[in-house]
């Protein structure tokens, strides 16, 4: 039996005056899936998240969360959700543990449930020894983990994460990914937006690539790479003056060539072989690197632009 569909969007559209932030987007998310929205800043990811969370009203299309329309059943829909917004909005007037308890009260949960739950979540977020600290005193990574712990206080069926690791250092990101992975294992449906391809590859079962409010592609990270890129990529740097002009001389090597301002990408199933061909033509790149194709390459292929500007 297939898991039930928990989120269903049909031609979901949001306009602000002349600007169409989200343009007729359709997707479905089954329970327990980890679903990603990958795209650059301004692609409409956060707007889509806000509509799912029932804090932004759609302009047209249909949207159903757990069978409910968030426009008409905002509080009820949000009772099923945990929301981690892009910017932490912890309650700075309260201490760490109080943040969890008070947030739980907003969901109408009794203290007899909240007290043990708060301790459990502090443990989960590795913040037990910070329970009585002021929010101000936490590091960026700790605040993020507290925000996630807070979003879990109502045992949500769906966790919305808007750019969960933006602005965190690599170690904090990995800690966070580990925590999110545990949630996924427990069967929580994760919806996350990101402009980091490695994050999408790590966490998402399936994702949509969005650009300018539209869906460019949809699938699992592996299938998207298979479909829209080669197995490997050869990255060459010839120095900033030569990168653009060198394209002609590299013609015919690999399946496809992409000249970026700082480097040239050659898409080939065998990167080493492509590199041999380059040197055989007497070209001497300053640096060369063979790597696996990533979602970054998929995005570049689909939009002609990089994910992170």
């Amino acid at each position: 039996m297939n898991p039930p569909i928990v989120i269903s969007a049909r031609n979901l559209t949001k306009t602000y005056g002349d600007l169409t932030a989200v343009d007729a987007v359709s997707f479905e998310v089954p329970a327990g899936e980890s679903f990603g929205l990958l795209g650059p800043n301004g692609a409409g990811k956060s707007t889509t998240m806000k509509m799912i969370g029932g804090v932004s009203r759609r302009s047209s299309g249909t949207l159903s969360i757990m069978g409910l329309d968030p426009d008409n059943h905002g509080p009820e829909v949000r009772a099923h959700l945990g929301v981690v917004p892009q910017q932490d909005n912890l309650d700075e007037e309260l201490r760490v543990r109080e943040n969890l308890i008070v947030y739980g009260r907003y969901f109408g949960l009794p203290l007899s449930y909240l007290r043990p739950k708060a301790d459990e979540l502090l443990e989960f977020a590795q913040l037990t020894d910070k329970a009585k600290s002021k929010v101000d005193a936490l590091s960026g990574g700790m605040k993020r983990r507290l925000t996630i712990a807070r979003a879990l206080i109502n045992e949500p069926r769906i966790l919305l994460l808007d750019e969960p690791t933006t602005g965190l250092d690599p170690q904090a990101r990995h800690t966070l990914w580990d925590r999110l992975f545990r949630l996924k294992e427990q069967g929580v449906t994760l919806i996350l937006t990101t402009h980091y391809m490695d994050e999408a590859e790590q966490l998402c079962d399936r994702l949509i690539v969005v650009d300018k409010g539209r869906i460019m592609a949809e699938g699992s990270p592996a299938s998207l790479i298979r479909e829209h890129s080669t197995r490997e990529v050869l990255e060459l740097r010839f120095g900033s003056e030569r990168n653009a002009g060198i394209g002609v001389e590299l013609q015919g090597i690999g399946e496809r060539l992409e000249a970026l301002p700082d480097r040239v990408l050659i898409y080939a199933d065998d990167g080493e072989a492509a590199l041999e061909q380059v040197t055989a033509r007497g070209l001497r790149p300053l640096t060369s690197l063979v790597r696996r194709s990533s979602l970054e390459d998929v995005f570049l292929r689909l939009t002609g632009r990089s994910l992170v500007d």
Binding site: R57, Q87, Y106
Partner: protein, 281 residues
């Protein structure tokens, strides 16, 4: 399917029960959560503000009532009988203090929470509706108004300015006044984007404080100024409390109370509508 479900057995968990409640699109009958958050935050916040809000009218009462009153002498009260100048201005100052307490909480406090602390944004990501938030915040403002009013009434008692048991009704009447100002203040604050705009509130409140028959009767003004002042909310509060303070009621009492009831209803409608527009757009 719940996150971290271990340790919470039972087919119908607390979270399930919380989801089974009836919700409205704007209200989920949980304003109490907003109130308890406010009380918890107040534990750590500055008591100084609370104290200064209480002392301000007391200082006015001493300076004007006792000091200035000694050269003014007796003055004609609402029922026509002579009362001391201090007894004349004390209920007016109480109305002002109810207004100040409510306005401080519902404007500056709300302004900060709305624009800097992102508090309401966080609240509205939960199963709270905008009406829960509005009611909760207004209730907190009322609580402050109640504290001020009780304290000031006690000071009046100590100074021998209370002569009738009716005067105790000044406390709930002050809360009514605070309610009117708090519900409207929060709605108006939602339009404010900068600190400069917030100053307009003071610009409006100071003349209202000085000229709403606070320190002398309305009859000193020409007719059209009287009408203007009678349209303002504080005058109705001043008159209401002044009548209650000596237990002298008239048909105007009902008008004063009615003025605030209308103000409360319109204020809550405005505030809820604005919260919805701002955060659920």
């Amino acid at each position: 399917m719940s996150a971290l479900a271990e340790g919470h057995p039972g087919p119908r968990s607390a979270t399930e029960a919380a989801r089974q409640r009836t919700f409205g699109p704007l209200y989920s009958r949980n304003a109490l959560a907003v109130v308890s958050r406010g009380l918890m935050a107040a534990k750590s916040s500055t008591w100084l503000i609370l104290v200064s809000g209480f002392f301000e009218p007391v200082l006015y009462l001493i300076a004007m009532g006792v000091g200035l009153g000694s050269i003014v002498g007796a003055i004609q009260g609402p029922g026509g009988q002579e009362i001391s100048y201090a007894a004349y201005i004390a209920p007016a100052l109480l109305a002002v203090s109810a207004m100040n307490g409510a306005v401080y909480d519902s404007t500056w406090n709300v302004f900060f929470k709305m624009n800097f602390a992102k508090l309401y944004q966080g609240m509205l990501y939960t199963s709270l509706g905008p009406l829960d938030v509005a009611i909760g915040e207004i209730f907190l403002a009322l609580l402050r108004g109640l504290l001020y009013a009780t304290g000031f009434t006690a000071v009046m008692g100590v100074m021998g300015l209370i002569t009738t048991p009716w005067a105790l009704l000044m406390v709930p009447a002050s809360v009514l006044i605070a309610f009117g100002f708090a519900s409207f203040g929060m709605g108006i604050t939602s339009f404010m984007k900068t600190f400069q705009q917030m100053d307009w509130i003071n610009f409006f409140m100071l003349p209202m404080f000085l000229f709403s028959a606070t320190f002398y009767p309305l009859s000193v003004y020409p007719q059209y100024i009287q009408w203007l002042i009678q349209a303002m909310p504080l005058w109705h509060g001043v008159e209401l409390l002044r009548q209650i303070s000596i237990g002298s009621f008239s048909s105007a009492t009902a008008v004063h109370v009615g003025y605030y009831l209308v103000m409360i209803v319109l204020g809550i409608m405005l505030t809820t509508g604005r919260l919805r527009q701002l955060f659920l757009k």
